[in-house]
């Protein structure tokens, strides 16, 4: 287990470092002078030169990369070229609403998708199976941001149950915050829930065909304990990996859903960065997002290794 852990950890670090190199150098292809962006077009040539010097833009690119990386590790991502603030501070402010939405969406996906898959898998062709298939079809045709618009229309405009857009902090008023969170949470989590439901269904159906399940039935165990103790445990192990891989897509989906619901967070910040071609902002945010994604996947692999000893060896 020790060497497995170390191998996975090294792999994860290599991926993050390579991703940071990729983002850093690709971002340098953006045309335009960031120093000019920062001081404005009516500044004197000396001012521009002074800012270039300050930002280290006159250094060789490789030197710039290492300077930036050294800062990034300490949480200093340099100044944003368009927002008039440090990238690190902008991200800290945006982190809470985004994390709130991502976590809520993920919890929704797990709490809705896994039971749906289990019900469908235990009785293929039953009502639960039809519900799961219908739900999957729905999410295939309706991408997350469109689902967001539909939810706003039905739940907020037609029925008037929920506020249309915006956000209230959980620390300010938990009840009110939850009202604002319900629709974006469903919009973010529905796609993942469908993927999970489909996967859990297949996994359960496969497990129920295994010899040890037949043995358990043959020795006269009650159906409940066959399903709960023998089948379910083994069926849900591979779900860990799928569930973890979905987190990346959930986060990237949240970027758009946030904009639909006019919620502050990573989404509007990142899109503002892309529109303004603010590479300092984009590269900081993407490296953070990729790191989150890689950490989650590594943790999932480790959890998988813990749950299924066969994985550690290969």
């Amino acid at each position: 287990m020790g060497s497995f852990l170390i191998r996975r950890l090294v792999q994860g670090i290599v991926t993050v470092v390579l991703a940071s190199i990729l983002v850093f150098f690709v971002m340098r292809l953006i045309p335009g002078d960031p120093a000019l962006l920062l001081v404005g077009t009516d500044a004197s040539a000396e001012d521009v030169e002074r800012v270039r010097e300050q930002l280290g833009l006159n250094e060789p690119l490789v030197q710039q990369y290492f300077d930036w990386l050294a800062g990034a590790v300490r949480g200093d991502f340099g100044p944003s070229f368009t927002k008039g603030a440090e990238v690190g501070n902008l991200m800290r402010v945006a982190l809470i609403p985004s994390a709130e939405l991502a976590v809520a969406g993920y919890v929704f996906a797990l709490a809705f998708g896994i039971p749906l898959g289990i019900v469908a898998g235990l009785k293929p062709g039953g009502p639960g199976d039809y519900a799961a298939t219908g739900f999957t079809m729905f999410t295939l045709g309706i991408p997350n941001f469109v689902l967001g618009i539909i939810l706003i229309w039905v739940l907020a405009v037609l029925l008037g149950w929920l506020p249309i857009t915006g956000r209230v902090g959980i620390d300010e008023d938990p009840g009110e915050a939850l009202k604002f969170l319900v629709m974006p949470m469903i919009a973010v989590g529905a796609g993942t829930a469908a993927v999970l439901a489909r996967f859990v269904r297949a996994s359960i159906m496969e497990t129920l065909n295994q010899d040890y399940v037949r043995t358990a039935r043959a020795k006269g165990l009650r159906e409940r304990s066959v399903v709960m103790r023998h089948a379910m445990r083994n069926a849900l192990i591979p779900v860990i990996t799928v569930a973890a891989l979905q987190i990346g897509f959930l986060i990237s989906g949240a970027v758009i859903v946030e904009v639909v619901f006019a919620r502050p967070g990573f989404g509007s910040l990142l899109i503002g960065g892309v529109v303004g071609r603010d590479y300092q902002l984009i590269q900081g945010m993407l490296v953070v997002l990729v790191t989150v994604f890689v950490v989650v996947n590594t943790l999932a692999d480790v959890a998988y290794g813990l749950a299924d000893p066969r994985i550690r060896v290969s």
Binding site: T15, I30, G141, I142, V255, I271, V275, R277, L289, F293
Partner: protein, 306 residues
């Protein structure tokens, strides 16, 4: 009456059937297409995509009005015979705009596949066939690109290229490269151990001939399925990006831009404004997913030959 020698009779049921069978035996492409067309899901997909493709190719001829044509006194009209999908907030016919929007969606979808699939498959085949350091380098790069999930790759590339429909197509094409590369590599790793590859090699075939003539035929179905699925992803991504203002700019008609324009009018009860683009998008996505399912059914050895 006997047919004249050397002529293939056109209208005789039996020989038409025989002809189809002969085509199926001669060409794997024809065989897969034939099987897809016999699946229920394949039929639905082919009909929807066929209609949409005609709309996309002949948008200017089919659409009753121009995509940016502002009509007199037709602001936010609900659906009628004159405007089956209603009109939008600045008096444009929505049916015409959606037809042009489908054109953009399919252009981006097909364009991204045309860019990403050949490059990705070439990289994957090469890495899988040669192994060792070629494989190690290619896989590190692919894994790094795949570390940017979903639409994030697109955001990085769009920041460099700037916004626009063509830029979105190129961006999503770049995003397709690691997806196809990883799949093609896996296929190659499986296939290159097979006896027929060994046989070809023994006969003196070089790597290019083995990859192009022998392996590629056998790895086509999974790649075709992936192409249909990636196209669905590209259609969603295009709609998302133009919704966010990172794709085509006004007054171009895209599904994303129509949705964005419709959003403020939800509270005014303009249901057609929001429902028609959603319906068009949903049909397109379901058709692409059905197509992927049908290709899988048509090519899976378990259900084949039934």
């Amino acid at each position: 009456m006997a047919d004249a020698p050397g002529r293939v009779p056109l209208f005789r049921a039996q020989s038409f059937r025989a002809q189809v069978l002969a085509w199926r035996q001669q060409s794997q492409w024809f065989d897969v297409a034939y099987r897809v067309a016999r699946e229920r899901r394949g039929q639905i997909a082919l009909v929807i995509l066929g209609v949409f493709l005609v709309c996309a190719l002949f948008a200017n001829q089919i659409a009753p009005y121009g995509y940016d044509e502002q009509l007199r006194g037709a602001k936010l009209l609900s659906p009628s015979w004159a405007h089956p999908f209603g009109t939008d907030e600045i008096s444009r016919d929505l049916l015409s705009r959606i037809i042009h929007g489908i054109r953009v969606s399919l252009f981006v979808g097909a364009g991204s596949i045309a860019i990403g699939m050949p490059i990705g498959v070439a990289v994957g085949y090469t890495a899988g066939y040669f192994g060792r350091w070629t494989d190690a380098i290619a896989m590190r790069l692919i894994d790094t690109m795949l570390a940017f999930p979903g639409i994030l790759t697109a955001l990085v590339v769009l920041a460099v290229l700037g916004t626009g429909t063509r830029e979105v197509a190129i961006t999503l094409g770049i995003g397709a490269v690691p997806v196809f590369a990883r799949l093609a590599r896996g296929q190659m790793l499986q296939e290159k151990e097979r006896d027929y590859v060994m046989a070809a090699r023994t006969l003196g075939a070089g790597p290019i001939r083995i990859i192009m003539r022998h392996v590629s035929i056998n790895t086509l179905p999974p790649l075709m399925i992936q192409a249909a699925l990636y196209m669905a992803f590209a259609v969603i991504a295009e709609a998302s990006l133009s919704f966010l203002g990172l794709g085509a700019s006004r007054p171009t008609a895209t599904i994303g831009l129509i949705l964005n324009a419709a959003r403020p009018f939800l509270t005014l009860g303009a249901w057609w404004f929001i429902l028609t683009p959603i319906a068009a998008l949903a049909l397109m996505l379901i058709a692409l997913n059905f197509l992927a399912d049908a290709i899988l059914e048509a090519t899976s050895p378990y259900v084949r030959n039934k």
